[in-house]
C-alpha cells in the first residue's frame, strides 16, 4: 500500500495558519502535522527526524512547509532545513510565511499584467509604492517588485526608521534596491503618491489606507493592487473583484486601473495550491520560496 502523504508544518509563531492548513489539505496531503513555536535552531533536528523514518520511496510522500510571519526567518528556516538533508534521505520544503510569498507574487504579477495590457509598460519602467510595506506581505511584495526592476519604496505608517532599516536589511540579503518611506497623514500620503506609477496596498485587513482625496494627488498612476478583502478595503473605490477595472476616483490619472483582493487571491490560490502539489508529484526534492512563486505566477498569467 502506498504510504499516506505527510506534511510537517513548521511555524515559529504560536499558531499555524488555518489558511495554510486548508490549502495543504486541498492540495492533496493526507496528514497535516502542525508544529508551532518552532525555533530556527530546531529546524535541523526536526528535518532529520522527518527524513529518517521513511525509506527513500516513502519520503517522496513526506514534505515540510515553513510558515510564520517573518520573511527573513522563513528563508533562514528553509535553508536550515535544506542543509539538514542527507541524500538520498531528502524531502521537499516550501516556505510561504503567512502565505506572504504567494500573495506577494500574485499581487506583483497581476499588477504587471495590467501594466502591460493597459499601459504597455513593464515593472522596470515604473515607480512603485507599497503601503503597509513593512508587514509580511509588504516586504515580500517589495523584494519581488524591486528584483523585477521597479523603483520600489516600502512605506511604514509609524516610522521612517523602521522602513529604512527593513529596506537596508533586505537589500543586503537579497540584492534588491528597496527604499524606505513613511506616511502617517493624508497630506504625507498625497505627497508620496504624486509621482508614482504603481501602488501596492498590503496593509492590515479592514483598514482604508488611501481615500479619494489622497488619490487625487496622483498624476502618473497606472495600476493599483489591494490585497485587503475585508471591508473597508485598502483603497477607496476599489472593488474586491476588480481585475483591470478603471480606478475612477483617481481623477488626475486617466487610465489608472485596479486589481482587487479576489482577483489577486485567485492567482495566489492557484500558486500556493500548485506549489504544495508539486512537492507531492516531484521526482526529486524541491526547495521553494518567493522566487519560485513569482516565476509560477508569471507563467500562470502568460507574462
Amino acid at each position: 500500500m502506498e504510504k499516506r502523504s505527510i506534511l510537517h508544518m513548521l511555524d515559529p509563531m504560536p499558531h499555524n495558519s488555518p489558511f495554510d492548513i486548508n490549502m495543504a489539505m486541498d492540495a492533496g496531503f493526507d496528514v497535516l502535522m502542525p508544529y508551532s513555536n518552532v525555533k530556527l535552531e530546531s529546524v535541523h533536528g526536526l528535518t532529520q527526524d522527518a527524513i529518517f523514518s521513511r525509506s527513500p520511496a516513502g519520503i517522496k510522500r513526506t514534505a515540510i512547509f515553513v510558515g510564520g510571519r517573518d520573511f527573513a526567518l522563513a528563508m533562514d528556516m528553509l535553508s536550515a532545513s535544506q542543509k539538514a538533508m542527507v541524500p538520498p534521505f531528502e524531502i521537499s520544503v516550501f516556505a510561504d510565511p503567512s502565505g506572504a510569498f504567494t500573495t506577494a507574487a500574485a499581487l506583483v504579477a497581476c499588477v504587471a499584467k495590467q501594466l502591460k495590457e493597459k499601459h504597455n509598460k513593464e515593472l522596470k519602467d515604473c515607480k512603485a509604492l507599497i503601503f503597509g510595506g513593512t508587514g509580511p506581505v509588504g516586504i515580500a511584495t517589495g523584494v519581488i517588485s524591486s528584483l523585477a526592476g521597479a523603483e520600489t519604496t516600502i512605506i511604514d505608517h509609524l516610522s521612517i526608521e523602521t522602513a529604512e532599516d527593513i529596506a537596508h536589511g533586505y537589500n543586503r540579503r537579497f540584492a534588491c534596491s528597496l527604499i524606505g518611506g513613511y506616511a502617517g497623514t493624508d497630506i504625507e500620503k498625497a505627497k508620496l503618491i504624486k509621482s508614482c506609477d504603481i501602488i501596492f496596498c498590503t496593509a492590515k485587513a479592514g483598514i482604508q489606507v488611501l481615500n479619494a482625496g489622497v488619490l487625487n494627488a496622483a498624476i502618473n498612476l497606472k495600476v493599483v493592487g489591494d490585497v485587503n478583502a475585508v471591508p473597508p478595503l485598502g483603497i477607496e473605490g476599489i472593488k474586491r473583484g476588480d481585475n483591470g477595472a478603471p480606478l475612477q476616483l483617481a481623477l488626475n490619472s486617466k487610465g489608472a486601473v485596479a486589481v482587487g483582493a479576489l482577483a489577486i487571491g485567485d492567482i495566489k490560490y492557484q500558486l500556493q495550491h500548485s506549489l504544495i502539489k508539486e512537492m507531492l508529484t516531484t521526482d526529486k526534492p524541491l526547495y521553494l520560496d518567493f522566487r519560485d512563486a513569482f516565476l509560477k505566477a508569471q507563467k500562470i498569467l502568460n507574462l
Binding site: 488555518p18 489558511f19 486541498d26 497535516l32 478583502a229
Partner: protein, 304 residues
C-alpha cells in the same frame, strides 16, 4: 473531487481535549487541527485566515470548534468568530468548553424525560437547585433549565461567588431574560425542602447531597449527578442510575447518574458536530442548540 472536511479546533488551554478530538473524527471530520493557548484576541485573525482559503462551496466542509475551560470566554470567542466572518466567506462555529454545554444539555434533557415519565410534568415552574453549580457544567445547566421555565438557584460554597456566577448567567447567557438566583452551600438544608430537581455538578468525589437531606426533600422529583467518580455527588445515585428510584426519598424521586447523562451528551455533541457538516448555511452553535438536539435524541428514544 470533494474537499476533505477540516475542523480547526481552538482552545485557550494548553491542550485540546482528546475527548473532543475523538468526537470530531467520529462525527465525520477528516482532519482535526489543534490550535492551543489561543488568546481571545487572536480569534478574529485565525477565523479570517481560515475562511479565505476555500471557495464558499468548500467552506461548508470547513469548521471551527471552540474549547477551553471558561464558559463566558468561550461564548465571547464564539461571538468574535461570528463577527469575523465576511459573507459569503463564512464557516460554522461550535463552542463547547470542556464539553460543558453538551454535558449540561444531556443532563437537563434526561431530567425532563424523567419528570414527564414519572411525574407527568415539565420543568416549567419547578424549583431547581444547582449544587456545585458555579463551574462550567453547572452554569450551562442552570441557564438551560431557566430558559425552559424553571426557577433555578445556583449553590456555591461562597454566596458571593455564586451570586456573581448567577449574574453572569442571567446577563451574558440569558440576555437578561432569565432570573437565576444564588445561594450558599451552608443554607442548602433550607432550600432542599422546596426543591423539585437537583443538579449535582461539583468536583468529582465530593458528596453534595447527603441521604439525611434527601429524606427532608418533601417534593424532590429528579436528582441528576454528572460525577462518575465515587463517592457519588448525590447519596444513593450511582453512575449507572437512569431513572432509578432513590432510596431515602419520601417523594418517590428518581436518580440519573453520570453514564446515563454521558450517553445523551455524546449524542448531542455528535449531532452538533454533524450539523456543522450537513448544514447548508453556516451555523453558530452553543448550549441552546446542544439542548435542542439532546431533547430530540431523548424524545426519539422514548418513542422507539
Amino acid at each position: 473531487m470533494e474537499k476533505p472536511f477540516i475542523l480547526h479546533m481552538l482552545t485557550t488551554a494548553k491542550n485540546l481535549s482528546p475527548f473532543d478530538v475523538n468526537m470530531a473524527m467520529d462525527a465525520g471530520w477528516v482532519s482535526a487541527v489543534p490550535y492551543i493557548n489561543v488568546e481571545p484576541s487572536e480569534v478574529q485573525g485565525l477565523v479570517q485566515d481560515a475562511i479565505f482559503s476555500r471557495s464558499s462551496k468548500n467552506l461548508k466542509r470547513t469548521g471551527i470548534f471552540i474549547g477551553g475551560r471558561d464558559t463566558k470566554q468561550a461564548m465571547d470567542m464564539l461571538k468574535m468568530a461570528k463577527r469575523a466572518m465576511v459573507p459569503p466567506f463564512e464557516v460554522s462555529v461550535f463552542a463547547d468548553p470542556s464539553g460543558a454545554f453538551t454535558t449540561a444539555a444531556g443532563m437537563v434533557a434526561a431530567v425532563e424525560r424523567e419528570l414527564l415519565k414519572n411525574f407527568n410534568t415539565t420543568l416549567t415552574g419547578k424549583n431547581v437547585l444547582a449544587l456545585g453549580g458555579t463551574g462550567p457544567v453547572g452554569q450551562a445547566a442552570a441557564v438551560i433549565a431557566a430558559q425552559a421555565g424553571a426557577n433555578v438557584r445556583i449553590i456555591g460554597r461562597q454566596l458571593e461567588k455564586a451570586q456573581h456566577v448567577a449574574d453572569v448567567c442571567n446577563d451574558e447567557f440569558g440576555d437578561g431574560k432569565i432570573k437565576i438566583l444564588a445561594g450558599a452551600d451552608a443554607d442548602k438544608a433550607e432550600y432542599i425542602k422546596t426543591t423539585d430537581v437537583v443538579f449535582a455538578t461539583g468536583a468529582a468525589g465530593i458528596e453534595l447531597l447527603s441521604a439525611e437531606l434527601i429524606a427532608t426533600a418533601a417534593q424532590l422529583k429528579v436528582a441528576a449527578d454528572v460525577n462518575a467518580v465515587p463517592p457519588a455527588g448525590i447519596a444513593g445515585v450511582d453512575a449507572f442510575h437512569d431513572g432509578t428510584k432513590i432510596e431515602n426519598s419520601v417523594s418517590g424521586a428518581v436518580g440519573i447518574g453520570a453514564l446515563a447523562i454521558g450517553n445523551v451528551k455524546y449524542q448531542a455533541q455528535n449531532r452538533l458536530l454533524k450539523k456543522m457538516i450537513e448544514s447548508d448555511k453556516p451555523v453558530y452553535l452553543h448550549f441552546e442548540h446542544a439542548f435542542e438536539v439532546a431533547r430530540e435524541y431523548v424524545k426519539s428514544k422514548t418513542q422507539s
